[in-house]
């Protein structure tokens, strides 16, 4: 067998006996990781679902360019050229005065016999944009650009609150990042403390190992493994539990959710983020135990 693998296996044996000897601190550490990952996970779920909501709203956002009744054919074709030149535009739809009136009458069905004797509604272009990162920015830029064009009476686009909601989502992202960083730092402190306890319970043994020719790496491996194991079991425990709760809630409430907002789907944390969370916890465990073993070795060498 490969000697690096053997070193790891021997290390793992020590790790397991360390965990057995300090069961309680290990469990507390794992629980803390699980709770932190849980907090982050719940935030992520909320974030993803808001994001999904935003995306589905965004699909309906369009810019409507109202035309003056006196617009000339050449002004019209200038406008069309402008639309064509804009790569962000997905589609344009021309709505004549007549069609606008038909649609309006259709909406006001109870007063279908409405007849003013003239058509008060302007002709317009309905413009849809490609989905992209800065879609709302493109939309507002385009609206500003088109507003001053000759023949354009006014420009209306997306409800303002969608823009505000998008800004809120950016704040959410920053908030999530902040929470993630804070929790990570806290976890590093807690895990490194657990590992330190583990190291000190084996202090004599470690010193002897070094005196009889063990490499520093050989001495460190069991503790690094312990940290990694804490990160792994904490995150898996947490995500497993959340997954189970998610499936339960989805089965219970998805139908009523769909009746509130059509097409809305209650989402779990997306796969890449799931693996990121597990990876992050493992990394935290590793970094924390690395810090502890490093400090211990430094102290040992200073003497």
């Amino acid at each position: 067998m490969n000697s690096a693998v053997q070193t790891l296996l021997i290390g793992l044996r020590t790790t397991i006996s360390n965990i057995r000897a300090n069961k309680q601190t290990f469990l507390i550490s794992v629980m803390t990781i699980a709770i932190s990952v849980g907090i982050l996970g719940v935030f992520l779920i909320v974030f993803f679902n808001l994001n999904g909501l935003l995306a589905s709203w965004n699909q309906h956002v369009q810019v409507v360019v109202y035309l003056g009744d006196d617009i000339s054919p050449s002004q019209k074709s200038d406008l069309k050229d402008l639309f064509k030149a804009n790569a962000k535009i997905q589609s344009t739809e021309e709505v004549s005065k007549e069609r606008a009136w038909q649609e309006f009458k259709l909406q006001q069905r109870d007063s279908a016999d409405l007849d003013l004797g003239f058509n008060p509604l302007p002709a317009s272009y309905r413009i849809r944009f490609n989905t992209s990162e800065n879609r709302s920015l493109h939309i507002s830029e385009f609206a500003e650009q088109i507003r001053g064009e000759p023949g354009v009476e006014s420009v209306e686009y997306g409800e303002k609150w969608i823009v505000r909601f998008e800004k809120f989502m950016i704040v959410c992202r920053v908030f999530l990042l902040g929470v993630g960083v804070l929790l990570s730092l806290g976890l590093i402190l807690i895990v490194s403390n657990t590992i330190r306890l583990s190291i000190y319970s084996r202090q004599d043994e470690i010193e002897l190992m070094l005196l009889i020719g063990a490499t520093p790496r050989f001495v460190k491996i069991p503790f690094l493994l312990e940290g990694v194991l804490q990160g792994l079991s904490g995150s898996l425990l947490s995500l497993g539990l959340m997954g189970a709760i998610y499936i339960y809630l989805k089965n219970e409430f998805q139908p009523s959710l769909e009746s509130i907002a059509r097409g809305m789907d209650f989402q779990f944390i997306s796969q890449p983020f799931l693996w990121t969370l597990v990876g992050l916890s493992v990394l935290i465990g590793f970094v924390a135990s690395y810090i502890s073993t490093y400090q211990f070795m430094q102290a040992l060498n200073k003497r």
Binding site: D204, L211, I212, G213, P216
Partner: protein, 218 residues
């Protein structure tokens, strides 16, 4: 093989523990290191396998410049050295067998070989019947023999023994001495610190006498 050039060691306060010590021990030699308590015997041994640093001078062991080693590579020196500590340093929560096997586990990964060599070493010191006992269940002399078994189990080219017969009666001391002489005949260089005149008396081996950190005769 082992050379000290004008080595000075200060533990901080007071007189230096070693004051301008120069020594040469050849490959395959068996030397006694003796002198009154506090003379610096343990200090020399500790310097020889990099447990203690020294303040002045130079130390060469098997061509390795000991003063230049750091935490990252000191194991290269220690792997060629078997040490019997004055206070044994047995692990209390491991059995006799595990204590001896431990010295191999940190350097050698072949489990079958470890079992075999551990058994062999325990046989050499006559402790096979006690292999499953814990150190606390052993007499001082038995603990000492476990420490010897642990030092010899890797068949290192150098054995540093700090009072390995300190706790043994004359009869067992003689047996232990024979063990070291056997290791010596198999090629190991032995540095044997002791203040027992009984052991020195036969005069078979070179004796280095230390006093107050200085070499009195060698």
């Amino acid at each position: 093989m082992i050379q000290l050039f004008n080595v000075v060691k200060n533990y901080g306060s007071g007189k230096p523990a070693l004051n301008d010590v120069s020594l040469k021990i050849d490959k395959g030699e068996f030397v006694f290191l003796t002198g009154p308590s506090g003379a610096g015997k343990t200090t020399i041994l500790k310097i020889l396998f990099g447990w203690e640093r020294f303040d002045e001078g130079q130390v060469l062991v098997q061509g390795i410049n000991v003063g230049k080693l750091d935490a990252g590579n000191i194991h290269t020196l220690r792997r060629s050295t078997g040490v019997i500590f004055q206070d044994y340093k047995l692990l209390p929560n491991k059995t006799v067998f595990e204590n001896v096997a431990f010295a191999q586990e940190v350097t050698n990964h072949d489990r079958k070989k470890i079992k075999f060599k551990t058994w062999e070493a325990l046989k050499n010191v006559g402790l096979t019947p006690k292999k499953d006992s814990f150190p606390a269940q052993l007499s001082g002399g038995e603990q000492q023999r476990v420490a010897i078994a642990r030092a010899m189990v890797n068949t290192p080219p150098i054995i540093l023994a700090d009072e390995p017969t300190g706790n043994l009666d004359q009869e067992i001391s003689a047996e232990i001495l024979k063990l070291f002489e056997e290791m010596n005949q198999n090629g190991a260089t032995i540095v044997f610190a002791t203040h027992s005149q009984d052991i020195l008396r036969p005069g078979k081996h070179r004796v280095i006498v230390l006093n107050r950190g200085e070499v009195v005769s060698s």
